[in-house]
Amino acid sequence: MAATNLSMGAAIVGAAESNEIGYPEERGDKVTSLQHHIQAIKNVSEYTGIPISDIEGVFSTGWSVELAEHLGIRPHYIDTTSVGGCSFEIHVHHALAAIASGIIDVAVVSHGEAGWSYRGAGGGGGGRGEMSPGAEMTMAYGTFGAPSQYAHAMVRHMHQYGSTVEDFAHISVVTREWAQKNPRALMFADASQAEVKLGERTPNPFGGPITVQDVLDARIIAWPLTLFHCCLVTDHGGAVIVARPEIARSLRTSPVWIAGAGESMAHQNMLEMDDFTATSAARSSAIAYEMAGLGPQDMDMAMIYDSFTVTAAITAEMLGLAPRGQGYRLWKDGDAAPGGRLPINTNGGGLSFNHSGMYGMQLLVEAYRQLSGTAEDGINGIEGKQTDSHTCVVNGTGGTLSTTGTLVLVSDD
């Protein structure tokens, strides 16, 4: 059955972060995940002028009922999809469907995760008592956390396509260049740059510019991944409001239209990953591009979940932005860099901006800022519009290269 084309059936009308991102603990605060949610929802409500009481649908990774209760609202659309860092792109897809079908007019997608302050407390999702039959057959073999698994994909990519660790290192270097333009980025500046206005952040000994050699020489986590191939672990929250077109046009904020949306999955356990150099983003983006009537060649910029350099490279290939096996070239050749043909991860990415564990919300916040042209409006103190983009493909990846959500976002001219 052919689906109704939902393209442009709703818009993201505002985006905001929580107030105390990064390592608030080091400034003497211990901010909970719930606080990040509530701060972000309050901020996006104030930014858009949409009262919290107007929210009819709540989308989050398992938090929706608690959030609604805490806010004192009674939504009539509740979504708790929790499939890792791509959950938020999938939430926007679901919100688009809920709004375009007339069930609700206004939805909030919210994220809060004190990934650093409450590290070791365990992430969202899962929670059933019994163990997955796949996990029973991998638990004996000494892998710990995401980097230990993603490294297998990078090795296979290097084998299959002749890519090198140096090739991937360029992704870290270019992404750090973007972070140096974002005062909110954890790696904005290093501790020696006393003249740099740091605001409330702590100067970071690992921050500031890095070279390919720095990436290669960094502490090894899981070969071939060194520390600088890996995303950060910080505290972060964010929220976007999605609304019906009539409402979107009536607001003081600029709408960013959802031209296309798609989601897909390949596996849960990496044991079931057929092709270690491919993800379901090929399918989720094909769905999103088709809905939008646009293709990769039409994109002005991209926001790509960069949990690891290899994630960004493979995803760029899946999104059709680079040939198979050559995703890293976008960074190595400068296309993705400031001033390049196709800016990617303009906030500094999960590698150098912030990454709480499930980073997909920050892809949305940054895509909204860039496309709405409101970066200089100073949402939460961010200054300086980085690109002049009207189209952006956003792709979240969850789990161990398991699940993907793709959005094609466009702004009014």
Partner: protein
């Protein structure tokens, strides 16, 4: 020394595997309808969705599909870093995970994807003989 690393949990769906492992056999689930071997053991054939499954004794041989070298670990595994984790393409089809033996974790450039591997079992407790794979000469 007692085995100090995580020991897999067992259930009805994979008990024949652990029974075979005790005798040094690599038992694999196969669908009687479509004939395909699948790994991990499950309740239904992931290819044709038949629930009529049987167990066969595998060859215990395969090829290295991909690997990584773990430098950061916890519990019993922390004492063994660096070590190589890997995915193995079974001769019978589908793929297993393992800690790979017969390779130098300090020379990952020398580890050959596609290398021939054979299974061996380590006794972890009375009920559990854990399969590990080793790179062998052609």
């Amino acid at each position: 020394m007692a085995y100090n690393k995580p020991i897999p949990r067992k259930g009805q769906h994979n008990q024949p595997f652990w029974d075979g492992a005790k005798e040094g056999k690599l038992m694999l689930p196969r669908c009687t309808l479509c004939g395909k071997v699948h790994w991990y053991p499950r309740l239904i054939c992931p290819s044709c969705h038949s629930t009529d499954l049987e167990w066969i004794e595998g060859s215990g041989e395969g090829r290295l599909h991909t690997f990584a070298v773990q430098h950061r670990a916890f519990g019993g595994w922390a004492e063994e870093v660096p070590y190589v984790t890997a995915y193995i393409d079974l001769n019978e089809g589908d793929r297993m995970m393992t800690v790979l033996r017969g390779v130098d974790p300090n020379k990952p450039e020398d580890i050959k994807i596609g290398a021939k591997v054979k299974v061996e079992f380590d006794q972890a407790d009375d009920d559990t003989h854990i399969p590990f794979w080793r790179v062998v000469e052609e």
